[in-house]
């Protein structure tokens, strides 16, 4: 732009300014897109837990995976610092729980599932179970089980 002024081609200045504005705008759009992706990746940690399913990892670039790893570490160290020695898993019970056990219905065949006292439950399509809430939350989020409210 300065060069144009010094060389006396003042009529080029508007087009240069225009292009520059376009470039800046494109840059803003791209950064907004990347930032939005970052926010979604952060939400993935809360939804899926610390291991992402392979079909999601497929859509993330290496830098995003690295960022996810660091976010995971930072969240884990925060959780360890709460609640005394063991830490507190704040990713559980995202909504205030109303009861210890909930009734769930199985939406697809998921095979066997182990609960805390070692017993194994066979999750077959359309079977209903009455199980402790914390064991079911993962599977509900994954869409294998459905919470039945009656």
């Amino acid at each position: 732009c300065n060069e144009a002024k010094s060389e006396g081609r003042a009529e080029l200045i508007p087009s240069i300014k225009l292009r520059h504005c376009c470039l800046l705008r494109n840059q803003r759009c791209v950064t907004a897109y990347l930032y939005d992706r970052l926010l979604r990746i952060r939400a993935l940690r809360w939804e899926y837990g610390s291991v992402l399913p392979p079909n999601i990892r497929f859509h993330m670039c290496a830098e995003e995976l690295q960022w996810f790893g660091q976010y995971k570490k930072s969240l884990a160290s925060f959780m360890r610092s709460l609640g005394g020695e063991e830490g507190l898993d704040i990713t559980q019970d995202m909504k205030p729980p109303k009861s210890l056990y909930i009734e769930v219905r199985c939406l697809k065949d998921h095979g066997e599932f182990e609960i805390d006292d070692g017993t194994v439950i066979l999750l077959k399509k359309n079977s209903q179970h009455f199980l402790p809430r914390w064991k079911c939350e993962q599977l509900i989020r994954q869409g294998v089980l459905e919470h039945v409210v009656s």
Binding site: Y101, V120, L122, N126, H129, P132, V149
Partner: protein
Amino acid sequence: MFISDIRKEFYEVVANQRVALLVSSDIDALCACKILQALFHCDQVQYTLVPVTGWQDLGTAFLEHKEQFRYFVLINCGANVDLLEMLQPDDDSIFFICDTHRPVDVVNVYNDTQIKLLIKQDDDLGVPSYDDIFRDEEDEGHDSGNESDGGSEPSGKRRRFDEGAVERRIERQRERREWEARRREILFDYEQYEYHGTSAAMMFFELAWVLTKDTKDMLWWAIIGLTDQWVHDKITHMKYVTDIATMQRHVSRHNHRNEDEENSLSIDCMRISFEYDLRLTLYQHWTLYESICNSCYTSCSFKLWTLNGQKKLQEFLADMGLPLKQVRQKFNSMDMTIKENLRDVIEEASNKYGMKDIRIQTFGVHFGFKNRFLASDMVHATAALLESTEKDESDSDNFIKALDSLSRSNLDRLHSGIELAKKKLIAIQQTVASCICTNLILSQGPFLYCYLMEGTPDVKLFSKPMALTLLCKYLLKAFVHSTRNKRCKLLPLIMAAPKDVEKGTVIVVGITPESETSDKKNFFGRAFEKASESTSSRTLHDNFDTSIIELKTEDRSKFLDALITLLS
């Protein structure tokens, strides 16, 4: 063995354990299941619910779950066969069976360790006494071996050749043969007829009552379970009336607790009331005219498949002073003046036309401003959902939908069920009309027979057992009203309809003859078994009701011939 104290011997045993619930596919079982689920939620008993549609399903479900569960609760399945022999469980599996099917298999009655029957012992059972069927071996001495081989040659034992011992042995063998003949006769008499006992839903409601955890929801489910037995003609009228009286006591107890002058209940609370209401199916959710045309009782009394019958119906309506325009409107939009005295007006008019029992004792529920349902409405809606023949819906999908429709929070499910039920009823009436008009019912001697051809409209609906049984019942009633042959009026009816076109099978159902005082004891279960054996037809006795079987289409005629010879 029979359980005497359902709280101590059943509920407290399973309260801290994990339980597998295997539930059969009928409305009574669904209601019983809802009540038990509600109790388990209350006490946080972990359970797994698996729907089963037949013996094969039951076997598969048991195999899948036997590693993980020790306690199994079977609802409306399992009492009428030797369960231990069928499932071959480990010694520590315990089965709690609450089943309305009778007769209860004798092995289930006399097994003390693994089978617990949640059935009242005085529930019209007539179980043969232990000594008549089982015999201890101690008094045999060192002669004959055990019962099953019935051998009389002592192998490797010292033979005694003196006269007295030989005589005694002959005497013992003769006694044994006589005892065995008597045993066969007793068992034959006991197992000959199939019938139904007290509703499973009512048994579980009683459990809830004993635990004082009964709620109005549970009471309503128990009422629906009982009404299901009446709608599908499983119990006698006497038993229905007696059970209604029992339920009425509970209803008045619940109603008495809540309403008094100072605090009246919110409109959203559930109110159950005793109704002496009309026998017009679904009339409050339909138009009065449609309901009269499609209810079995009125349609058969007027003979609405004839022209004469239609005229009589018009006369009937005119007699009551109901304008046609009103009668063809949705019930909710009918004039208030007409709706107010409708029941009495209809009762009076129907007495003149020979319909003496147009009203029946039942219960209704009322919650919210719009929602009023009679127990029979719920039964028809849930049954339609349970046996819906939409594509891509497996039996267990339908089971889940039907189970959901019983909760008060799933009213749209219930309404879709009511719509399906209306279609089903219309289909039944049309099929009945066409069968009677085209004389499709043939008398085969000891029974009547009807076969639905493959191209019949709505024949897919009748590939399901409950729908076909309902059609069978309505058809028999219509036939009895339309025929002049006195002998034919007393015959039972067997009906066959295509079940699976690809596999080439038909479903065959047999029902008892139509009579006012019928005891609803069905002998077709045994008859079908014997006929199938003697002709080696390819049959599948998979349904928990032994009078409903699946048969290969090609074997139909020889199977029928065998039945005719068997029953003549």
